[in-house]
């Protein structure tokens, strides 16, 4: 096998499963260690730098990091279901407990503007990220939104009982205070006009603002009592809607449906049910959001395809559904076919339709110079986020359809790099590599500067406010967040995957001490071979092919050292038992390079261009 290349950031980055899975690549173990040490403000800053909205994401993130977390692969199954570290909720702890001194640590608004003007259309997470990255560099950034408040869907679609207003105001405020101009209540209805206004660059972060409708019999007749989910949520956020009927049906299986049903429960809905076409397990909603709905007494009925809205004299009376079942063809593709059972009807006073969102760009004229594909989506470069007009960029849901906040943030960072490079006269296809530093954690013979003891605790649950109270008040936050003591205990469950096991072949005497001590049987010294075959004869079987093998060649006996990264606890016992220091525990701090001097080409290249 080829020896593992560890000099470039790729290999060790992948070992940090959470950071690798995060679209913004937040250095998760780094901030979790800070939380353990009570350095909440530092933990907040690590997050703020990387994902811009720690308090908001700490409550609402889709958490791609958690299914990836190594903890979920190493806990003893005999003691219950292995669970990842509560990464998302620890992020919230950093925001909740950071204290008041955070403003002093923020970048200052640029003392000198560089004369370039940038328009961000839509004040959602993607635009705000672009604004945050570019304003401190001296760009004049103006953010437009049709709503009077900045925040976009964070504010309009996410209910207050999941995300209090103060949190949004604080974190959006931190960005606007960097010298960003916000123009709220301004509806942009012509791209041509925007382009004519002479902005140096335009960023479109208008989201996926159109909720999909359901065109079935009765829709028009009962229209008064049928609402599109996201529009209805937004109307609740604005305070225009404060009531709903006693019996509510929510159609759809995504997170918007979960927000709709839970909001209904708080606005007078007593019999609220969610009805989905597909099976319960295939619903798009995050498992924890489904649990939250169940906790509030909301049943989810599955395999029911809406057939008609039932109505009498312009009043909605119920809905009828066809019962279906899932069948799979030989390629494993699923289709829903009628099960043959009789149709089912449910009485209701209101229906909320949350069956998906679509992009809509009615304000971008066909001849504005921006190319769209046949599905009505703009042609956007996946790396640079540039449209067919060189100075117009798209990001967030507006670029590639509905995703979530953390993806919008990641898009924003990348688009900001492109805008900065474009306006500095650089090739925007030349992308900056992430920064990586490796630092040995060795402090003494058996001392490490990270806490290498493995906690055996199971995942701690976040406490909830009393359900009797929360169901009465649409603005009362349900989750209370960890207190400092529980946060510390949960933080101890983190395995510090960024503290890497680094092997130096020349120092190894092949004494087997590391093989013997490794609690997870990760390490093998074995004859060389092809990877597929080598995986079959390691100390423990290596079946998780998504995880790499760390290979070192050139040992005195001619064997190779193979470490299966899959279930390594990063406990450092291999390094403690190593007599020669061939194993060392080194922290790999990997940070994405954001817009600014570090993301531009090296100075000599800039000089060449200038000459």
């Amino acid at each position: 096998m080829q020896p593992t290349e560890t000099k470039s950031p790729g290999y060790f980055h992948k070992v940090v499963d959470c950071q690798w899975a995060c679209p913004a690549h937040t250095p998760v173990p780094e901030y979790i260690r800070m939380i353990s040490a009570g350095r909440y403000a530092d933990a907040f800053m690590v997050n703020w730098k990387s994902n811009v909205f720690p308090g908001i994401l700490g409550r609402t993130c889709d958490r791609p990091c958690e299914p990836a977390c190594r903890r979920g692969r190493v806990e003893d199954e005999n003691l219950g279901k292995p669970q990842p570290v509560a990464i998302c909720r620890l992020k919230r702890v950093a925001a909740d407990l950071k204290g008041d001194d955070i403003r002093a640590r923020m970048p200052k608004p640029a003392a000198k503007k560089n004369g370039k003007r940038i328009a961000c259309i839509g004040a959602g997470p993607a635009s705000l990220t672009v604004a945050r990255d570019l304003a401190p560099l001296g760009y004049e950034v103006t953010v437009f939104d049709q709503d009077p408040r900045a925040g976009g869907m964070i504010w309009s679609q996410i209910p207050r009982f999941r995300l209090p207003l103060e949190v949004i105001d604080e974190e959006v405020g931190l960005i606007l205070d960097l010298g960003v101009t916000f123009k709220g209540g301004v509806r942009i209805d012509s791209m041509k006009k925007v382009l004519a206004a002479g902005w140096d660059a335009v960023f479109v972060g208008t989201g996926a603002p159109r909720g999909r409708d359901l065109d079935i019999p009765g829709r028009k007749e009962a229209a008064k009592h049928i609402h599109i989910g996201i529009d209805w949520l937004s109307s609740v956020s604005f305070g225009h809607t404060t009531k709903i009927g006693k019996r509510v049906i929510v159609l759809g299986g995504g997170n918007t449906a979960m927000d709709c049903c839970r909001t209904s429960r708080r606005l007078g809905g007593e019999e609220v049910k969610v009805i989905v076409r597909s099976g319960f397990d295939e619903m798009k909603a995050s498992p924890w959001e489904k649990e939250d709905a169940a906790h509030e007494g909301i049943p989810i009925l599955n395999f029911l395809v809406p057939k008609a809205f039932l109505h009498q004299e312009g009043r909605l009376t119920g809905m009828s559904f066809e019962k279906v079942k899932a069948v799979y063809d030989d390629k494993g593709r699923r289709s829903l076919v009628p099960s043959g059972e009789p149709d089912q009807s449910f009485e209701c006073d209101n229906v909320l339709i949350a069956v998906g969102q679509e992009n809509a760009f009615p304000w971008i004229e066909k001849d504005a110079g921006i190319r769209f594909d046949r599905w009505g989506m703009p042609a956007v470069d996946k790396v640079t986020f540039q449209s067919s007009l060189p100075n117009v960029f798209f990001g967030g849901d507006a670029a590639f359809g509905p995703k979530n906040i953390i993806w919008a943030v990641a898009h924003g960072h990348d688009a900001a790099i492109s805008i900065d490079k474009l306006l500095q006269g650089e090739d925007i296809r030349e992308r900056p590599a992430p920064g990586m530093s490796m630092m040995s954690q060795k402090m003494g013979i058996h001392e490490w500067s990270y806490d290498n003891e493995i906690a055996n605790d199971r995942r701690f649950a976040v406490p909830w406010a009393d359900i009797k109270q929360t169901l009465k008040n649409v603005k009362m936050e349900v989750e209370l967040g960890f207190d400092a003591a529980t946060a510390w205990k949960e933080a101890q469950r983190c395995l510090n995957c960024d503290v890497q096991t680094v092997f130096t072949t020349q120092l190894c005497i092949e004494c087997d001490a590391c093989v013997d001590i490794c609690p997870m049987d990760c390490i093998s010294f074995t004859p060389d071979g092809e990877e597929k075959e080598v995986r079959t004869r390691l100390t423990a079987p290596s079946t998780n092919l998504t995880q790499d093998l760390y290979v070192a060649t050139g040992l005195k006996t001619g064997r190779i050292m193979v470490k299966d990264e899959d279930v390594c606890l990063h406990c450092g016992l291999c390094a403690e038992r190593c007599p020669t220091g061939a194993w060392d525990m080194q922290k790999s701090l990997i940070e994405m390079t954001h817009a600014g001097p570090a993301a531009r080409s090296p100075l000599h290249k800039q000089h060449q261009r200038a000459a």
Binding site: D512, A513, D516, A540
Partner: protein
């Protein structure tokens, strides 16, 4: 040593053996020996062997003397019986224990100082008597606890860490064990578990005095150039006469053997099968006299002869020699232990 206990978490595929334990259940406390010590590898080999043999930990007694090696029973089989005895006196304590309770599996752990210096007499007699045990000698050629003086097994001419040269002749423990009548004699290397684990299993299954001399480099005091007990030296001079596969029963044999390259050696009353892959064509481990010659020739050439050196086809143990009662004393009641004056009368009468 490390300050941390080994984490309880284990590989998700960790298997249980026939008696319901994982390999991790055979571990002991965390080792306090120096990092990289060969003794820790031997402990790992013992853990693996006992797990593979499906022996319940509480049916094992581990006894040792004094020294680095004799500390190790604390670091494996944490749920077994143990006795850390007097320096060089493990054999006599083990003999007594074995006579009292023949139903346990006995393992004696000793070092080169404990066995070849202060305990040489005890070592000779326990081999001679054929006490049913696996005697593991963790041989590093130095006194590690007192900072690296030559021990009695250090080769003549080998160099200490500070440069002095050993002028004494070494005690060759495998030859001595053979001469004293051990019925199972092997030598191995702590850095080669593929050889060591099957040998330990065979020694445990052997129904008499089984002796394994395990060369175990002392990383702190005897792993330098000029030493004949260093990782590099042993790897460069290791002459394995055979490779052993131990099978608990004939049905369990899963490997395929080519004709002629394998000889079978009986492994005792419990019916285990020893399959030896010959590496040295003319080596016959059932021939004691040729074994002694072979060992002497190898020593002359500076080779470290490893593998199963001798296994007696018809081994017996001390209980068979003495025709003792067939059960452990702790299974006997007061009636059997004090059969009354009538029985005493009969015995006395038989001697008149």
């Amino acid at each position: 040593m490390t300050y941390l206990a080994k984490p309880r978490l284990h590989h998700p595929t960790l298997k249980k053996n026939a008696v319901g334990y994982t390999r991790r259940d055979y571990e002991g406390k965390v080792s306090t020996l120096c990092a990289g010590c060969g003794h820790d590898s031997i402990s790992a080999a013992l853990i693996e062997a006992f797990w593979q043999l499906d022996i319940q930990p509480h049916r094992v007694a581990k006894l040792s003397g004094i020294g680095c090696s004799s500390k190790t029973p604390d670091y494996f089989l944490g749920n077994s019986h143990g006795f850390n005895t007097v320096h060089g006196r493990m054999p006599s304590v083990l003999t007594g224990a074995n006579l009292a309770n023949r139903d346990l599996t006995y393992i004696g752990v000793s070092g080169d100082g404990d066995s070849a210096s202060i305990g040489l007499g005890q070592f000779a007699h326990v081999m001679r008597r054929g006490v049913n045990m696996a005697y593991i000698l963790e041989n590093n050629g130095v006194y590690g606890l007192t900072k690296g003086q030559f021990s009695a097994t250090a080769d003549k001419g080998s160099k200490a860490k500070k440069g002095s040269v050993n002028s004494d002749s070494p005690v060759d423990t495998v030859s001595l064990a053979l001469l004293m009548g051990a019925t199972f004699v092997a030598r191995s290397f702590s850095g080669d578990k593929q050889q060591l684990v099957p040998l330990v299993k065979a020694a445990i299954a052997h129904p008499g005095a089984a002796f394994i001399d395990v060369i175990s480099p002392c990383v702190a005091f005897n792993n330098h150039e000029g030493s004949t007990k260093s990782y590099d030296y042993v790897r460069a001079h290791n002459e394995a006469v055979n490779r052993l596969d131990f099978w608990p029963s004939r049905e369990a044999i899963t490997a395929e053997y080519r004709e002629g390259e394998v000889i079978e050696v009986a492994a005792g009353a419990e019916g285990g099968i020893l399959k030896l892959r010959k590496l040295a064509a003319d080596y016959d481990p059932s021939d004691k006299i040729s074994a002694i010659t072979h060992i002497a020739r190898a020593a002359q050439k500076g080779e470290v002869l490893t593998g199963l050196l001798y296994a007696a086809p018809d081994a017996e143990d001390l209980h068979a020699h003495l025709n003792t009662y067939g059960a452990a004393f702790n299974t006997l009641g007061a009636k059997e232990l004090c059969p009354g004056s009538g029985v005493l009368e009969r015995i006395n009468a038989s001697l008149r």
